[in-house]
């Protein structure tokens, strides 16, 4: 199975939308293992793009390229070009610390700091030298993450005391407190119950007007519910016994789910494998 040609994936964003993130022939290696090969992808501003695909297909790995989290893994190596607002962000000359202020991330497992709810929100602002009013920032961020009403009376309590769903929304609040342009979400609902999941999904709809969102999800219903575009990744076994991921198809979400061009996509979204 060959990787898709550049033209097929770029054509997914044909309209004159401005592109927030762009991947050009991106490959990621872990040591000598090629984990994801030759991904071309355009992510337009103020849209929600979902990455779906079976385990080991490299969807999280590609997500982590957009805020250079792979830099923290010593054996990981990223090839190709990644552009953010038209500027190259891969390579040694770009400071990942500054990039991550503009490209926020929410993780699979809620990971609030063992600090108060208030300090969880102000942490990012403090280290980035925020000059404004911190009380206002905390309220604005918590309102933005639809958490304010639940926690406004216990801002000094530990963030670890919240329920899983509340913790995850706290992490979203923490991410939007530093006013990023993009929010990357790595399976943000996989550790949450259905009600909390719905809350986070509704939140994503609200956040779309301000932020570009990229979400990795195992849940195809979730991808179809929340996203404007969907990228389907697949994995093939390599000679070394590992798995190599590649981008199969990238299109508007309704096209991926109702009329996919590739047979693999059709099989996956109809639940025949994965």
């Amino acid at each position: 199975m060959a990787s898709p040609t550049p033209s097929s994936s770029i054509s997914a964003v044909a309209e004159s939308k401005s592109i927030a993130l762009k991947a050009e022939k991106v490959s990621v290696y872990y040591g000598s293992n090629l984990a994801v090969k030759d991904v071309y992808l355009d992510i337009p501003e103020h849209e929600i793009v979902a990455f779906i695909g079976p385990s080991g297909c490299g969807k999280s790995t590609i997500l982590r390229c957009f805020n250079r989290m792979n830099d923290l893994i010593p054996i990981a190596k990223v090839e190709g070009r990644i552009l953010f607002d038209g500027e190259e962000i891969s390579g040694k000359r770009v400071d990942p610390v500054e990039l991550r202020r503009r490209v926020g991330m929410v993780f699979q497992k809620p990971n609030p700091f063992p600090k108060s709810i208030y300090d969880n929100i102000t942490f990012g602002a403090k280290i980035n030298g925020y000059q404004g009013d911190y009380d206002e920032l905390v309220e604005r961020s918590l309102r933005g993450a639809a958490l304010w009403d639940e926690v406004k009376d216990k801002l000094k309590e530990s963030g670890l005391g919240l329920s899983g769903g509340q913790q995850q929304r706290l992490c979203i609040a923490r991410a939007i407190a530093i006013e990023p342009e993009v929010i990357l979400m790595d399976e943000p609902c996989s550790a949450l119950d259905p009600i909390s999941t719905i809350k986070v999904e509704e939140l994503m709809h609200d956040l779309k007007s301000k932020y570009t969102i990229v979400i990795v999800t195992h849940n195809m219903q979730q991808a179809s519910r929340v996203s404007d575009r969907t990228a389907f990744f697949n994995a093939i076994a390599t000679d070394k016994g590992g798995k190599m991921g590649y981008l199969v198809e990238y299109d508007k979400t309704e096209a991926i789910f109702s009329n996919p061009k590739e047979e693999y996509t059709r099989d996956y979204v109809s639940g025949r494998f994965g």
Binding site: F107, N111, F113, F123, L160, R174, I178
Partner: protein
């Protein structure tokens, strides 16, 4: 085929013979219990002796004298039993050693767990462990014969026996303990927490200072308290390097006598069995025990109070 073979035997008709196994189980339980009991009885025995002899001591010397007198002269004709003379020396040396071991140990731990490449780590860790394996008597001689003469080159009023070099060398001795236990605490901070900080645009230093160290604080404090207990109870270095001159106060330049050094002096044969001086030994031992016991209780409480639970 198989159906025929099993078909002849009714279910449940095969009774396993497990009497021997059950008996062995009971015997093993008794043996293990006996060994566990030995360590418990030993502790009770030591504690009992300490308490018994301490009570005997306080029948001869009032607890008021013990706590308020300002000189420690149990072997002189004019006996005085001011325990704070010994406690002040012990505390002073322990404080000096912690002032050395806390920065050295904690910074090595941060360096090892967060900054060092695997190669550097492979070299640094064994060196720290060698430091922990040096016999304390060697440290004592090092303090007396190397550190003190060196310090005297720029601290001319430093005496030959003094609390300063004993404390400094003791600090080096407990550094590996602080470093190793603190590193464990830092290492157990979940990866996801560090990722969370980095994803907010934190640098490595900001992540270490604002997230990793606070998250590991309970482990770091308990490592420190363990190190203090070790410093308070350490004997050889202070006996060799700090002198045997009971002095009340916190002057690190003069010879002092710690509680442990006093115990060495008495057990080396100065006091016959049953005398007041002999009983003094147990009163001092009891004080020492109470100090380390209080530290351990505090550490226990602190860890329970401040440990963060991640699932």
């Amino acid at each position: 085929m198989t159906a025929d073979v099993t078909g002849d035997i009714a279910p449940g008709s095969w009774n396993p013979k497990r009497d021997r196994a059950k008996m062995v189980q009971i015997i093993v339980k008794i043996i293990f219990g006996a060994f566990a009991a030995i360590s418990i009885f030993t502790t009770i025995g030591i504690l009992g002796t300490l308490i018994f002899e301490t009570i005997a001591f306080f029948q001869e010397v009032s607890i008021i004298r013990f706590l308020t007198e300002t000189r420690w002269t149990p072997l002189f004709a004019s006996k005085q039993f001011g325990i704070f003379v010994l406690i002040s020396a012990t505390v002073m040396i322990a404080v000096i050693s912690v002032l050395v071991a806390l920065p050295l140990g904690l910074l090595s731990a941060v360096c090892l767990s967060e900054y060092a490449t695997p190669r550097v780590r492979k070299i640094l860790k064994p060196i720290l462990e060698i430091l922990a394996g040096v016999p304390t008597v060697v440290y004592g001689y090092f303090a007396l014969l190397t550190v003190t003469p060196f310090l005297q080159t720029f601290l001319p009023n430093l005496q030959g026996f003094n609390a300063l070099s004993a404390g400094l060398v003791l600090g080096v001795m407990i550094t590996p303990l602080v470093a190793s236990l603190s590193e464990d605490a830092l290492y157990s901070v979940p990866r996801s927490l560090k990722d969370g900080a980095y994803a907010l645009g934190a640098t490595k230093r900001e992540t270490v200072v604002s997230v990793i160290l606070p998250a590991a604080v309970s482990g770091i404090v308990s490592s420190l308290i363990l190190a203090i207990s070790r410093a308070v109870g350490e004997t050889m270095i202070v006996t060799l390097a700090a002198g045997a001159n009971p002095t009340l106060g916190f002057n690190p330049f003069v010879p002092v006598m710690t509680m442990t050094a006093f115990i060495v002096q008495i057990t080396a044969g100065d006091a016959p069995h049953g005398t007041t001086a002999y009983k003094t030994l147990f009163a001092v031992g009891m004080t020492l025990f109470l100090m380390t016991f209080a530290l351990n209780i505090f550490s226990f409480w602190f860890v329970r109070r401040f440990r963060e639970k991640y699932d």
